[in-house]
Amino acid sequence: MTDIRQISFPFRRSADQDRPEPAHHPTVIVGAGPVGLVAALDLASKGRASVVIDRRSNLSDGSRAICWAKRSLEIMDRVGRDLGLELGQALVDKGVTWRKGKVFFDTREIYDFDLLPEEGHRRPAFINLQQYYFEHCCIEAAAKTGLIDIRWQEEVEGIEQTGDGPLVTIATPEGSYRIIADWVIAADGARSALRRLMGLGFEGRVFDDQFLICDIKMKMERPIERWFWFDPPFNRGRSALLHRQADDVWRLDFQVGAEADRDEEVKPENVARRVRAMLGDDLDFAFEWISLYRFQSRRLERFRHGRVLFAGDAAHQMSPFGARGGNSGIQDADNLVWKLDLVLRGEAPERLLDSYDWERRAAADENLLNTTRSTDFIAPKSAASRAFRDGALALAATEPFARRLVNSGRLSVAACYDGSTLNGADGFGEGEASAARPGAAALDAPVGNGWLLEELGRGFAALWLGQDGSLAAQCRDMLAGLSSRVRFVNQPTDVSRETLLSRYGALAQPALYLFRPDQHIAARWREVSPANVEAALDRATGKAS
C-alpha cells in the first residue's frame, strides 16, 4: 500500500498566469486543508466552480485533526449525496469508530464513559481518522466533480478589496499572477497569510504549558477507547492521552510543562522514553509524527471582511481537547456555502453573509469557552485551581457527581444558532422538543429504509409530521404556492416513524418544520400557514429581519 503522505502534488502553471489582465473567478478558496476542501466540495455540490490555492505540495504531514464528530460526518453525507459520492461512508469505512473512554488519576481508573449515541442515527458519535486521509478523500472527490481547480505550490502574497471584488496576487514557482474574485474564502489555517496581509488582529490567550504530540505505529490488542490520564506515574504532575487511529496508528499526547526544552523534547530517543514509560519497555513501535505545541485560544473579531470570509483555524484557534478545531471548521463551511450560493444566484441579499459571521462567531465563542475550561482543568494555573482539580478527580472514583466535573475535553457537538436573526417562529410550547428548536441542527432518525438527513438539504425543506397522515397531503397542497422556494418532504408511512415523531415532538400534536439548506431548523409550527412559512423563508434568507 502506498503511503499517501508521500504523494507530491505538482505545480501546474495555469492559463491565468499568462493573461495580461487578472483572470476572473467567482470563488477563490485559500487553503486546501479540510475546511477549504469541504467548502470547495459543498460549492461543487451546488454546481459552483472554485479555485483552491495552497502553498503546500503534500497532504498534512501528521495526523493533526483526528476526531471527526457525528455532525461533520453528516455534513460530508449531505455534500457527497449532492455530488453522487459517498463521502461520509468513505470516512467511516477508513476510520475507527469509537464512543467509549476511560479516565485515570494517578494509578487508578476513576471512571469510564460512553458517549451513548441513542439508537436511530445513521452516524456514530465519533470516528478517528488522520487528517491526511480526510484530505485525501476530499481531493479525490474534488477531481471527480470537474469543478474544483486545486493549485498546489501557489501562495497568496497580496490582497486588495476593489469595487469589482478582491484582487488576489498569487506567487508561484514561476512568478506571480493575479485573480479577481467575487468572493474569497480564507481557510488558510492558524498561520493564515490572508489574515496577516489584511492586517487583522487575532486576539486571545496563549497558554504556557507545552504538549508533546506523537503518532506511533504499533500492534496492540486494546479496546478502541479514549484513555486520558491525570497525574500518572509515567508523567508525574501532568496529563497524557492515548487514542487509536486508522492503520494501527495511535495518538499519544503528553503534557510536558512550560519550561520544557523544545529541541530536546522532540528528539525521537526522548519521546521513545516517554512512550515506553507509558506503554511498557518491551513495546515494538515506530514513530509516524512528532510535534510540540502550546494551546491557543484566539479568534478574529469578525469572520466577514467585505468579500473575504474567514473559516476554520484562520478565523479561530482553540485547544485540541474536545476535538472542536477541525469539526468547527467543517461547520463553518457548512454554514457559509449555502448562503454564498444564494447570494451568487441573486436570490438573497449580500447581508445574508453577515449571518455567517454572527452564527459562526457565536459557535466559535462556545467552542473557545469549552476548550479553555478543559485546558484550565487539564493544566491548572494556580495552587487553588489544582486543589479543586485534584479534589474533583479523587472524589470521582466514588462520587458520581464529581465525574461530571472532570474535564478532559468536552467533545464537539453541532452548534445551535440560538438568537440568530435567521431563526423564524418557534410555535412550540416551553420545553417541548427543545433539541429541535429553531437554530438547532436537524436530528437524524430512521425513515423507511434510510435516514431523515438523507431527505434534507438541497435547498430549504418543509417536513410535516403527525399521526394522521392524511393531513400531510393537505399541508403539501397548502404550501404548493411556495414550491419554487421550499421542497416538501413526505413523512414516512412505516412504523419506524415513532422515533422521528418523538424526536421532533410530534407524537401528540402535528408539527411543521422548516429546514435550511445546511439542515439547521429555521422555524417550526403546530399549524400550517403558507404566509408564516413564507415569512420564515424571507427571514432565513436575509430578506427580512
Binding site: A387, F388, G391, A394, L395, E399, F401, A402, L405
Partner: protein, 71 residues
C-alpha cells in the same frame, strides 16, 4: 431562594469543632485539599448556582477583595 445568612445550625459550637477536627493531623496542603473536596461536595448538595454565587461573593468580600466584574 437567596443564601441563608441567618443562624441555621442547631449546635454551632459542635459543628464548628467538627470542621476543625476534620483538619486534625493534616499538613497545610492536605488541609487545602480537604477544603476543596468539602466545597465540591457541599456545592453539589446545594446545587443552586445563584446561592453558590452569592456565597462565593460574600466570602470574597470578607477577604476585602470582591469578585471582579467579568465579561
Amino acid at each position: 431562594m437567596p443564601l441563608n445568612r441567618d443562624p441555621n445550625i442547631k449546635d454551632p459550637d459542635q459543628l464548628y469543632a467538627a470542621i476543625i477536627d476534620a483538619h486534625e493531623g493534616l499538613t497545610d496542603s492536605e488541609s487545602v485539599a480537604l477544603n476543596a473536596r468539602l466545597v465540591l461536595l457541599l456545592a453539589n448538595h446545594i446545587g443552586d448556582e445563584a446561592v453558590l454565587r452569592e456565597a462565593l461573593e460574600t466570602a470574597r468580600r470578607s477577604i476585602g477583595k470582591p469578585i471582579a466584574e467579568s465579561a
